[in-house]
């Protein structure tokens, strides 16, 4: 009824208008809905581009008046919740009743989900390259501080290993294996945030060592801000990044505001962390006992460790003329003293919302983190503002701004490693010499005077214990603070130049300007109290340094989407120009001799002496052109092509530009008419072949020119020197890769399975630090193109979409695994030889071998067979006077009892006799050429390690070294399950690595017993006297033993299965909350890294391997374990 009335009225008005055919300069009228007049409704004049020219708002009675600029424009009426009406301006009076938008019938909007990265907005179904996307919804509420933690075990082919458990340290990431051998080109994947690459200057940095800096960018992004993560794996996917994406790309998309009422969300996470303990350490009593044996054994000298020589381990009293006797009678657990329960608080508030014109999302977070090592504190404030403003249908302006401020109070010393080494009979606090009670000052080991050293006949602790700082004192007294500000403003304009829908040709221009401003400050102070040095030897050290880096990037993209009348064809093309320039500068000042005690004055400029000042400046520029197209026929035959040209300042004029093409295709077989029978069981079956080439550039500038720099003065003459050999023919490193992917989706996308196989070949490898003959005056050139290597592998991942659904119960899972194998195909023999270290016959020395047609990371060493039970002389004396046959018989009987002694045996196991039927002693790297080589080692003896004499030559030397395994895992991956029941949700995630070996150097040094460092309790099982059957050799101080060579004793299987997290989530139903004005409360609790199933004996089998050297556990701070409780509230 109402509608008819309205139509009649409109008709009437229409007639009225035609009657007065004159120029309309203003309009007026009344707006109402079915409840009555509308107050605050919007009336606006819009032009052909959809831009708003003029607007008015209705008053209390729904009346409006508005001037009209151009009668050819249109007039639009809108009100929240009601249907918007657009009418031509052909009358002066508009009396409208707007109908409710909620009254319209349910409509099905068929929109295709599109890729959001830096390339073309291709419908997800038509993506033909190897990518994998994860929505961060899955991580919500986890006790993670950065995205890399969350990604571990989630992406097939992405191997992530955390560098250490210290606050603010990053991870090592390898996507489909390392593409280069060089440590100077970074092998980590490129991190892209909202299409932007954060450029910080790394000139002159060792890239492999710059992980902390590199990963600051991940740490600077609050996980709460991230909407989704896409990992681009093959060259076809990364081609739009050209040379920057040579190691794969991780694209992060941040959350943006959505239309609707402003929504305020607050989340709080409380996380308790602790460190898993490694091996048990010796107590003070065990330690002194071990040291005494260690000093006795090499020379069998009872006085080697007596109270005159080493009073520190003899539990003296005040009668012994050792003034420090009280300090060396303790049983200190240094590790316990420096570790603690850490607590992390993460607060985050977001406000998001939007209307017809503008959307916004503002987030701000504050994190406060106390580390698991004492006195480590990290404070971080981060904020991100994303605004979108729709100027018109054609023009949209967006601006993003993010700021992160981090203050990281670090430890000056590596407390854990010192705590593991420091002598446990020492006390933390200085004992009162009279009462023996702890005083309130820390105890620092005193240095010996020359006279004291002479009286003792040398100082056994000089190289170690005397230099170890008191770690507790260091934590509390020294200062090391890092502060950083990171700002990223960005402005984007989108302009649709032609049609607005798929029926017209569309051409859009997107222009953006992005800046990255990063400032870093480091301040440190190392007080006198921590060292027992004299004032003249430079104490009260302080340092202050700062660096700032500004980079500017602008991108201009034109995207053309033609409209074909034949809807079978679809085509998109994109051309982009990108320009980057930046510069950075740094300065630092170091001082000493500050007039400070108690750490009041800590700045190097505060009256001390300046020991060093330096400053640096660098700049970089690059230019990129990208062309890319996407064509699909009938939505099931897809072809993509990209060509990118990179220009960089790092090469000379001849090879300044690198060109990186890629092609990929996809055939969705399941969409073929003849496959319709398989639907809906088989909802998608597609194959995706791709080929592409990406590149890599060196990390340094000015390599192609001769440089002169200043050097040390001579007399009063300023001095300069040539700095380099000019690289006349430096080229891009190129990576050519093939990928074949298979997508199989079942049951209407309930179960999705992807299989990928790839092969990528790196040619013209940029080898850093290339050794040249030094008769040129230089030992290395920074880069050299040489060698060829290949990564081959496959990946598999499954994810599900409500796989099991029964009533309120649903279950989902994700599984992935991947395998990568690398092989060196070609390399200059000079380089190969240089990469292969020469064996120096020292304890703990690892051998690096890089061989053609082999993967790197291979571990070589001796075979370990236990400990010799009996001394050489025992055997020699026992067989004295026997005939040859008697000796053979005696030896057979001896070995039959399972006894061992250090004599040479031949391949048959018979004892080798020399001269007058004397058994030949087992030697180590022995030579008869009188070069005096190693005359101090008499040969192995009881209690020494037994190494397999593989060639039975009666001595252990480099020829007995054998292959012990590979550092590369056979399989890496992860899996996880999510269960939900109504408002409850439980999700779990596991990661694993299978088949890799690790050299446990941490254990090696904890069981070596060659120095004065504290050892693990395992050494209590050491060989002490003849006949002892054990696997731990005797304690031997000094270098006259070879009991800790790299052998399979220390090479361990690094396979593990780790539970990354388990999380339980509960949301309170909205209807119970409305009375307190809340929309949502959800609670969650999670455990992170609760257990690792592994045979590895070290603290954590998560050991990074880099480049060509094997994976070695150096006893880094292990990844901590944690418990998180959190709450999220929506207002």
């Amino acid at each position: 009824m109402r509608r008819i009335k309205f139509i009649i009225m409109s008709m009437a008005l229409l007639f009225a208008m035609t009657a007065g055919a004159q120029t309309i300069t203003s309009v007026h009228g009344t707006l109402s809905d079915d409840m009555g007049p509308l107050m605050g409704a919007t009336v606006c004049e819009i032009d052909g581009n959809g831009r708003i020219i003029n607007s008015a708002i209705t008053d209390l009675n729904g009346n409006f008046t508005m001037k009209v600029k151009n009668p050819k424009d249109k007039i639009r009426f809108s009100y929240v919740g009601l249907k918007t009406q657009t009418l031509p301006i052909n009358k002066t009076t508009y009396n409208l009743t707007l109908s409710s938008a909620t009254q319209i019938k349910e409509v099905v909007v068929k929109s295709k989900k599109r890729a959001t990265g830096n390339g073309l907005p291709i419908p997800e179904r038509e993506i033909s390259s190897a990518t994998q996307t994860i929505s961060t919804k899955e991580f919500e509420g986890l006790g993670i501080t950065s995205i890399d933690e969350a990604l571990q075990g989630r992406i097939a082919g992405l191997d992530i290993i955390s560098n250490s458990g210290n606050l603010g340290s990053g991870s090592t990431m390898r996507l489909r294996g390392a593409s280069s051998l060089s440590s100077l080109t970074d092998s980590n994947p490129l991190i892209v945030v909202d299409g932007n690459i954060r450029e910080v200057n790394l000139d002159g940095f060792d890239m492999a060592g710059a992980n902390d800096e590199k990963f600051a960018e991940l740490l600077n992004i609050n996980p709460e801000d991230i909407a989704s993560i896409t990992v681009l794996k093959d060259a076809a996917a990364t081609a739009v990044y050209g040379s920057q994406g040579g190691n794969g790309v991780i694209e992060l998309t941040t959350k943006r505001g959505v239309r609707g009422k402003p929504k305020v969300t607050y989340s709080l996470k409380l996380t308790g962390t602790y460190q898993p303990e490694g091996y048990d350490l010796l107590s003070g009593d065990d330690y002194t006992m071990m040291l005494k044996e260690a000093y006795f054994n090499p020379r069998q000298d009872d006085n080697a460790s007596d109270k005159e020589r080493i009073p520190e381990i003899n539990y003296l009293d005040d009668t012994d003329n050792f003034t420090e006797w009280r300090q060396y009678r303790d049983n200190t657990d240094w590790r316990d003293a420096v570790t603690q329960w850490g607590l992390r608080q993460n607060h985050y508030v977001t406000i998001s919302g939007g209307g017809e014109k503008a959307n916004f999302r503002i987030g701000a977070g504050y994190d406060h983190e106390k580390g698991t090592m004492i006195e480590q504190v990290l404070n971080r404030f981060s904020t991100r503002v994303n605004l979108d403003y729709t100027v018109s249908e054609r023009i949209r302006v967006s601006t993003n701004f993010s700021l992160t401020y981090t203050k990281n109070d670090q430890n000056s010393d590596d407390l854990l490693s010192i705590a593991l080494k420091k002598m446990p009979n020492l006390s933390i606090y200085e004992k009162d010499p009279v009462t023996g009670e702890n005083t309130d000052s820390y105890y620092t080991v005193l240095q010996l005077t020359e006279a004291e050293k002479a009286a003792r006949g040398g100082d056994v602790f000089a190289g170690d214990q005397r230099n170890y700082v008191n770690p507790v004192a260091s934590a509390y007294l020294a200062k090391k603070q890092h502060r950083s500000y990171d700002m990223n403003p960005e402005l984007i304009i989108n302009y649709n130049l032609l049609g607005l829908d798929e029926d017209h040709w569309q051409l859009s221009w997107r222009g953006s300007v992005y800046m990255n401003i990063a400032n870093h400050y480091n301040d440190s102070f190392y007080p006198q109290e921590l060292v027992s040095k004299k004032w003249e030897d430079k104490v009260n050290l302080s340092g202050a340094s700062s660096s700032k880096s500004v980079s500017f990037n602008t991108k201009h993209t034109l995207t053309l989407t033609p409209a074909f009348t034949n809807k079978d064809h679809s085509l998109m093309m994109m051309g982009r120009f990108e320009l980057t320039s930046g510069n950075s500068s740094s300065q630092s000042t170091d001082g000493y001799g500050l007039p400070s005690s108690g750490g009041v004055i800590v700045s190097p400029s505060a009256g001390g002496l300046i020991s060093g000042m330096s400053s640096g400046y660098s700049q970089w520029r690059s230019m990129y052109y990208t062309f890319s197209m996407h064509y699909a026929f009938k939505g099931r035959y897809v072809i993509d092509a990209t060509l990118r040209a990179d220009g960089t300042t790092k090469f000379g004029p001849d090879s300044r530009w690198g060109y990186f093409p890629s092609v990929s295709a996809k055939w969705i077989i399941s969409d073929e008419p003849w496959m319709q029978w398989a639907k809906p069981t088989l909802s998608m079956l597609a194959i995706r072949p791709s080929w592409g080439r990406v590149g890599n550039q060196p990390s340094q500038n000015y390599l192609y020119t001769s440089k002169y720099g200043s050097t040390t003065r001579y007399i009063d003459m300023a001095a300069m020197k040539p700095l380099n050999i000019r690289l006349s023919d430096l080229k891009w490193q190129r990576v050519t890769s093939y990928n074949l992917g298979l997508d199989i989706h079942f049951f209407d996308e309930k179960l999705n399975l992807t299989i990928e196989g790839y092969q990528s070949t790196t040619t013209d490898m940029l080898m850093g630090g290339f050794r040249i003959p030094s008769n040129t005056g230089f030992t290395t050139v920074p880069y050299h193109n040489n060698g060829k290597m290949r990564n081959t592998g496959w990946e598999f991942h499954i994810n599900t979409n409500q796989l099991v659904k029964a009533g309120k119960f649903t279950m989902d899972m994700n599984v992935n695994f991947g395998n990568n194998r690398n092989e060196i195909l070609e390399m200059d023999p000079y380089i190969l030889e240089n990469k292969n270290s020469v064996y120096g016959y020292a304890n703990g020395e690892t051998l690096t071998r890089v061989q053609l047609h082999n993967p790197f990371g291979a571990i070589y060493g001796f075979k370990y067979l236990g400990v010799y039970q009996y001394n050489y002389n025992t055997v020699k004396n026992a067989v004295e006077g026997m005939t040859k046959d008697e000796i053979y018989a005696w030896w057979r009987e001896f070995t039959a009892q399972g006894k061992t002694a250090p004599v040479a045996v031949n391949a048959d196991g018979d004892i080798v006799l020399e001269g007058n039927n004397v058994p030949k002693r087992m030697m180590y790297d022995y030579r008869s050429d009188d070069t005096g080589h190693d005359g101090s080692f008499p040969g192995f003896n009881g209690g020494d390690a037994i190494y397999a004499d593989l060639n039975n030559d009666g001595q252990i030397n480099a020829l007995d070294i054998t292959y012990l395994g590979s550092s590369l895992p056979k399989l890496t991956g992860g899996f996880g399950f999510t269960f939900s029941y109504g408002a409850w949700r439980l999700s779990t995630q596991f990661t694993y690595r299978v088949g890799n070996k690790i050299i446990n150097k941490a254990r090696l040094s904890a069981e070596a017993m060659t120095g004065n460092d504290n050892q693990s309790q395992a050494v209590n099982y050491r060989w002490r006297q003849e006949g002892d059957v054990t696997v731990i050799p005797r304690a031997m101080n000094g270098n006259t033993n070879f009991n800790t060579l790299i052998s399979d004793r220390f090479v361990e299987d690094g396979s593990y299965l780790r539970m990354s997290y388990a999380q339980l989530n509960y949301s309170i139903n909205k209807k119970h909350l409305t009375w307190i004005g809340l929309n949502r409360i959800s609670f969650y609790g999670s455990v992170n890294n609760p257990f690792v199933l592994t045979k590895y004996s070290g603290v954590d089998p998560d050991i990074a391997f880099g480049g060509e050297s094997p994976a070695i556990d150096w006893a880094q701070t292990p990844r901590s374990r944690s418990f998180t409780l959190g709450v999220t509230v929506d207002f």
Partner: protein, 599 residues
């Protein structure tokens, strides 16, 4: 379609903007801010001077200096390891044990070649500067050429003395497409090249650097701290001595001595010493302008502080001059000396050998010091003090040495340099060195008698030898007399010619004088090498190394049979990148070896 048209306009604009950016091809040309690139360098005299200074300062680099000391001294009988301190440097310990392999870090030579390359770079570009900068005259250019040629020759001379045959190049290495893996040029050829080069440039060299009025300017150190014509003559003197061309050796020695005498005369005209002093000096030093102690008191040894600690002494021909208070100026200290010879708290790695100490303590049958000198040879204290508890190589580790010789057993007193403040000069050539080289050449010119010569021939030979013997004795005796710690020298205190009046005795005396005078100055091992090359056998090396405590005697006999063994092996890393180097057969690579292989 008006809208469309407008849009096309936009597109064109956008394309123009984009192309506008790319049209500036210069965008990708950037220049470093803290360094200068070749295209902007070599324009003026200062550029040349700066790189020349860079050659000198690299010679002061710890690695280079350490090798000068270790190559020249560590294998000789002058030194031994200092107790447990040597554990701080395993490679040095292995050298002292004669367990040298190609892996030993002291077999690397890159610092020397770096200096050589800098010199070659100057030689390449300095003529271009002369063409551009009118302030840089031909005279300046010739002086520069002489200076860097001399420095280059000095480095090569070190290298051939240590390694015998080494890669030789007069071309600068600037690009990576140059041939780098040069084969080694034979010892003799390099020696000839060096002589040829220095003969050619000697006339262009600076004769005298200007002196300041009050003598307190840093520039006053140029005369000894930079290459002068005297320095080139001194080098030629030594090169000819190695070559065995004794007439030329003597000729250049005389040029240096004459020049020093002239300089002393000029100074004397200004100084106007009393006739009494002149007489005392004349008595001790003849006409040779050596540094002498205060001859009217009983304190001695200060001459050596003046030569090494004060530096720029009148007898010095060429030295590396260190800043006088490096700990404050931040300029390099003589850290190689501190680490090898000791500092105020730093325990030295090397000390005087047991053999030497026993020699000092002996009162007769001495083999290094002369019996006749009794305890009065100042060098018994200034080299290494056998009586001291904290052994330091005093000559360079001390900023002040004074020997109180008021009683018959002198007592020495030292101030040791602080660990970070050693500024003792590293002297390449000083007058006693030149004098003793001349004496050595004179000895070599002598003819020897043997059983086959007739008495008549013997007398002819004796007559021929006599002036040579006297001249050689005079030279060596002046050096000896300077270090006698006695106020009023009587004939009984000095050495008598009669005791050395044959070629053999004189030669040995000159060699001994050379050993004790230049002890720890990085000369001894090179002298032994020279003696061996001259004799064609290694007897003297075997004898010298035989005195060492820490080396197996049987091994020495065996090992040093071959001449190769007195040189050093090429470093393994060098051989890995330069296949044209033939490894020294006396040394193992240090790499994998098998018991079976060596048997």
């Amino acid at each position: 379609m008006k809208i469309m048209k407008k849009n096309y306009y936009h597109i064109i604009c956008a394309i123009c903007v984009i192309c506008g950016f790319s049209s500036c091809a210069d965008f990708l040309e950037i220049k470093p801010q803290s360094e200068i690139i070749l295209e902007d360098f070599w324009n003026e005299k200062a550029d040349v001077d700066n790189v020349v200074a860079g050659c000198y300062s690299l010679l002061q680099d710890d690695g280079v200096r350490r090798r000068m000391m270790i190559w020249g001294e560590a294998r000789s009988e002058n030194v031994m390891a200092n107790g447990v301190a040597i554990n701080g440097d395993v490679d040095l310990h292995n050298i002292l044990k004669e367990n040298i392999t190609a892996m030993n870090k002291y077999t690397t030579w890159n610092g020397f070649y770096d200096v050589i390359n800098r010199c070659n770079t100057v030689l390449k570009y300095a003529p271009e500067v002369a063409a551009k900068d009118p302030a840089y005259t031909t005279g300046d250019l010739n002086a520069t050429i002489a200076e860097v040629t001399a420095l280059r020759s000095l480095c090569y001379f070190y290298l051939i003395r240590a390694f015998r045959d080494v890669p030789f190049s007069r071309e600068a290495f600037t690009d990576d497409n140059q041939t780098m893996d040069l084969p080694a040029t034979p010892f003799g050829t390099v020696l000839d090249y060096l002589i040829e080069d220095l003969e050619a440039v000697q006339d262009g060299a600076v004769k005298r650097y200007p002196e300041s009025e009050n003598g307190s300017s840093d520039k006053d150190r140029y005369q000894t701290g930079r290459i002068t014509q005297d320095a080139i003559h001194a080098m030629l003197c030594e090169l000819y001595l190695w070559k065995g061309d004794y007439d030329n050796c003597i000729r250049y020695a005389d040029l240096v001595i004459k020049s020093k005498q002239d300089m002393e005369e000029e100074k004397e005209q200004r100084r106007r010493s009393s006739a009494e002093t002149k007489a005392l000096v004349k008595l001790r030093l003849g006409d040779y302008p050596l540094v002498y102690d205060n001859l009217t008191s009983t304190t001695f040894g200060e001459a050596y502080s003046e030569i090494f600690a004060t530096g720029s002494s009148k007898e010095t021909v060429f030295e590396l001059s260190y800043d006088k208070s490096p700990s404050q100026s931040g300029l390099p200290a003589n850290s190689a000396v501190v680490s090898l010879y000791g500092g105020s708290t730093r325990t030295p790695l090397l000390v005087g050998s047991k053999y030497l100490k026993e020699d000092i303590e002996a009162t007769s049958q001495r083999t290094v010091y002369e019996d006749a000198n009794k305890k009065l040879d100042a060098r018994m204290y200034t080299n290494c003090d056998a009586t001291s508890d904290a052994p330091r190589i005093r000559k360079m580790a001390s900023s002040r040495i004074s020997i109180n010789a008021s009683t018959s057993s002198p007592k020495a007193d030292y101030n040791t340099y602080a660990d970070n403040n050693n500024s003792s000069s590293w002297i390449f050539y000083r007058l006693p060195d030149i004098m003793l080289m001349k004496a050595e050449a004179l000895c070599e010119k002598m003819r020897s008698t043997n059983e086959e010569t007739t008495a008549e021939e013997d007398s002819i030979i004796a007559a021929y030898n006599k002036p040579l013997l006297e001249k050689a004795f005079e030279l060596a005796n002046v050096v000896n007399k300077r270090s006698i710690c006695k106020k009023d020298l009587t004939g009984a205190d000095t050495l008598q010619f009669a005791n050395y009046a044959s070629k053999d005795l004189m030669t040995k005396f000159v060699k001994r004088e050379r050993q004790r005078e230049l002890m720890y100055e990085g000369k001894r091992w090179f002298d032994l090498v020279r003696y061996s090359l001259r004799a064609g056998n290694t007897d003297e090396v075997i004898e010298a190394v035989g005195h060492r405590e820490d080396v197996n005697k049987g091994f020495v006999q065996n090992f040093f049979k071959k001449m190769d063994a007195i040189f050093w092996p090429y470093n393994i890393d060098e051989m890995k990148v330069n296949r044209n180097l033939v490894p020294n057969p006396s040394f193992s690579s240090g790499e994998n070896s098998s018991y079976e292989k060596t048997n």
